[in-house]
Amino acid sequence: MQSHLESDLKELRETFRSGKTKESSWRISQLQGLLHILEDRENDISMALKQDLGKHHVEAYRDEIGTVVKSINYALENLKQWMAAKSAKLPLAAFPSRGELVPEPLGVVLVISSWNFPIGLSLEPMIGALAAGNVVILKPSELAPACSSILAETIRDYLDYTAVKVIEGGSDIGERLLQHQFDKIFFTGSVRVGRAVMSAAAQHLTPVTLELGGKCPAVVDSFSSSWDAKIATKRIAWGKFGACAGQACIGVDYILIEKKNVSNLVELLKRYIKQFFGDDPNGSHSMSKIINKKQFSRLKSLLNEPMVKSSIVYGGLLDEEGLFIGPTILVDPPLDAAIMTEEIFGPLLPIITLKRIEESIDFIRERPKPLALYAFTKDQNLHKRLVSETSSGSIMFNDVILQYAVDTLPFGGVGGSGFGRYHGKYSFDNFSHEKVVVTRSFFIDIWFRYPPWDDKKLQLLKSGFRYDYLSVVLIALGLKSKG
């Protein structure tokens, strides 16, 4: 197994050195290969997602297959433009010269993905890596084994195996991989492992992107229109329970709302939960299951803390064997309980009540910067304050999660939620080096740039730096002495 890894890396480096992956035709062929995987093997992929996470195939399509197809098409449409050198304006003092920014691949990149959106979070970064002309190693999460397996099989069959490899396995293979030098590491996962990845990368000065998580709050204002209140609640319910059962880095973690609106909110939430999942969410097959026993136990223990249990107002269904937790709502669990200090990553929805909705700003600021912040409001002032007084990877008004699907918006965290970004052109840029190329001619060499130094040269340079060309000419001609 050890020598396999080394020989794989050697092969990848040689492929990169050959220059093959730099050609636009190669990049296009790989992106089209990814497209074919998703078209030809849609059913197999859906089944793998069903097996690993109990995902309904419509949810699988919506969140993992369809979005990736969209991203690949976007990359194919724009690749030529992204690959083109951009010319940079240079000041006259640098005349005659030309400046350009030339994007080039970094080389051998490592993509480490997580288990909650195992297909999407593996393929989205790969689109960027391949579009930018790199060779890639993908290390999918071993916690979603069926998906890891289907990825390994399809990538081997549809893509250029001398340039793109999938290495399956757990933390031991992950650690072995991290001992090697890569030209970039793209990591999606937890804070704990993110730290380990960056520490390992530091030994080789490998640049990294860390897509982590956090507690994404949803601020819910008061609404005069019941339509608005219903839509807001429906979207939140979807953003919590309908996206991998809350196991999503940009899923809604908790709600902030004024005390007077809580009972209405809870009633509406119950209504929509029923509408989405029927009376028996477990049997509905429309809600994902918890990935494994470890996560299940973790979520169970979040609920078992003394004051937390008593704050449950709905749900609490725990099916350990089926690894299923029903939609659960809590009102005002203690703020120092684990459910309010750790990222929940499950279908438990705490509602925190406030006297005035403006208090949500301080509440959010006192806590680590989340990957996403959601706010449902028509109040322009609150809107403005939330944008300018809080910080998060992204902020979305009146809906949830959709920012993930917008190719023109950078997707990434800040502070504890990570750094670096991707999607659309940002993916291409993430895996590229923007190389500066400046070309001068031999004609016109400015004699006063060189020693030996004297006062006249100093004055000329001072004028030159101020772009005061008239003074430059006058001083050079001896008609002026000070620049």
Binding site: V58, P91, S97, F397, L402, Q403, F419, V438, F465
Partner: protein
């Protein structure tokens, strides 16, 4: 919590660093540093500082590096002033949110990207351009609305203490601080949680900085170095080439610059001509006794002097000196020295020289130079002198480096519209001009939706019809959406 006086007088340890960061975070929370007015006031103050104290700055540079006034002016003062001015001129534009297009899939919606400060940032600078490499990143940090701690290099002590004095006098000391010191002070700072660390220096310490940053998931910019090669083709204007090489090597802090030419690659036949031309121009620049010329910086200190002397004293190298080689330990001066074709395994061929020694490596065909460079780590800058279009294009497409300059040396770092940074071993991230602002900014994605336009297709319970509609929505095709809505697909 230690009072300011106590902090100044006692050793700067972890506790002191912790207090410092706490104080800066308290400033940031007030929102003061975010305001346009505050940023402008600080930048204007910096400009004033440079204009009023330029003599003191030059004196400190002379004390630390024997840097000639001209170099101090061109490479440090003028560039920093320009940086301030560009930032002042463009700040409003840089701070404006950028509207972006959204697709049918999220209709109706509007989106923008809002730049916001990261928070409290740490700038660690180097000794060779101690004014430029300290203040330029600080300008970026301030322009982007952050609070900043500057840790200047202790190897340039006169500048370090001048920076402490001047920045505290001219800038808002509730948001901009200078911490002087060496390894232990830097370590104490690195243990804190920063929102960004900007480091200029070498790869060894760069690794330490990144490893420390990893503990707090702090993003970093690492401006490092490497062996910057110069490929010289034979059909070039020899005089201009020689002048530009000298201008980028010995006239830049005596070769102690991250983008200074480290080694030249040229053909066996052309090497003697090139070396002669360089010798000829060196005489014009520095006279008969370059060791004592006032127009050239000295080696910064005795440690580096010993390091450079050792590179020359190596048996395999000392016999290959074709020009210069004189040293004067008392004045820490080494004459401009050219060394020809040293063995590949000698130390001087494998470490960044960072001094007044220039290697010449000869090859059979000039194209071999490209493979030679590619067999080594990616440098911060790579240079080529040629008039042949194909050679230039091959060089540009095959060599990966922070930057490539054709027919000149180092020009790119004087241009604020070009990003300055490395790749691979030469670093990560970039700055200068708007790139400085961006380096210290978080670009927050903001998406607005209305309460109308709710697609039932996204919600459970899931049906085949919903799946069709979703496919059409993600495809962005109107026809597909209409057909799906009517159940025709």
């Amino acid at each position: 919590m230690a009072s300011e006086e106590q902090v100044k007088n006692s050793a700067f340890d972890t506790e002191a660093a912790n207090c410092l960061v706490k104080e800066l975070r308290a400033t940031v929370i007030t929102g003061k540093t975010k305001s346009y007015e505050w940023r402008v006031s600080q930048l204007k103050s910096l400009l004033k500082m440079i204009e009023e104290r330029d003599k003191q700055i030059c004196d400190a540079l002379f004390s630390d590096l024997s840097k000639p006034e001209m170099e101090a002016f061109i490479h440090e003062i003028a560039l920093v002033k320009n940086s301030c001015k560009v930032s002042l001129k463009k700040l409003k534009e840089w701070m404006k949110p950028e509207k972006v297009k959204t697709t049918l899939g999220t209709f109706p919606s509007s989106a923008e990207i809002v730049p916001e400060p990261l928070g409290v940032v740490l700038v660690i600078s180097a000794w060779n351009y101690p004014f430029l490499l300290s203040v330029d990143p600080v300008i970026g940090a301030i322009a982007a609305g952050n609070a900043v701690v500057l840790k200047p290099s202790e190897i340039a002590p006169a500048m370090s203490s001048l920076l402490k004095k001047l920045l505290e006098e001219y800038l808002d000391d509730s948001a901009v601080k200078v911490v002087e010191g060496g390894v232990s002070e830097t370590s104490a700072l690195l243990e804190q949680k920063w929102d960004k660390i900007f480091y200029t220096g070498n790869g060894r310490v760069g690794r330490v900085v990144m490893a420390a940053a990893a503990k707090n998931l702090t993003p970093v910019v690492l401006e490092l170095g490497g062996k910057s090669p110069v490929v010289v083709d034979s059909n070039v204007d020899l005089t201009v080439t020689a002048r530009r090489i000298i201008g980028g090597k010995w006239a830049c802090n005596n070769g102690q610059a991250c983008v200074a030419p480290d080694y030249i690659i040229t053909t066996k036949q052309f090497a003697p001509l090139l070396i002669d031309s360089i010798k000829h121009e060196l005489l014009k620049f520095y006279g008969e006794d370059p060791l004592n010329s006032p127009d050239i910086s000295r080696v910064v200190n005795s440690d580096h002097f010993a390091r450079l002397s050792k590179l020359l004293d190596d048996d395999k190298v000392s016999g290959k000196i074709v020009h210069g080689g004189q040293t004067d330990k008392s004045s820490l001066k080494i004459a401009p020295t050219i060394v020809l074709d040293v063995p590949e395994d000698s130390l001087i061929m494998n470490e960044e020289i960072f001094g007044p020694l220039l290697l010449v490596v000869t090859v059979e065909k000039i194209e071999d130079g490209i493979d030679f460079i590619n067999s080594r780590s990616k440098p911060l800058a790579a240079y080529i002198f040629t008039n042949k279009k194909e050679l230039k294009e091959e060089f540009v497409s095959k060599i990966s480096s922070g930057a490539i300059v054709v027919n000149d040396i180092s020009l790119h770092l004087m241009v604020d519209t070009l990003p300055f940074g490395g790749v691979g071993e030469s670093g990560t991230g970039a700055y200068h001009g708007k790139f400085s602002f961006d380096a210290f900014t978080h670009k927050k994605a903001v998406l607005h939706r209305s309460f109308l336009g709710d697609a039932p297709a996204r919600y459970p319970p899931y049906t085949a019809g919903k799946l069709r509609l979703l496919k059409a929505l993600l495809d962005g095709s109107i026809l597909g959406i209409i057909r799906a809505l009517f159940g025709w697909s």
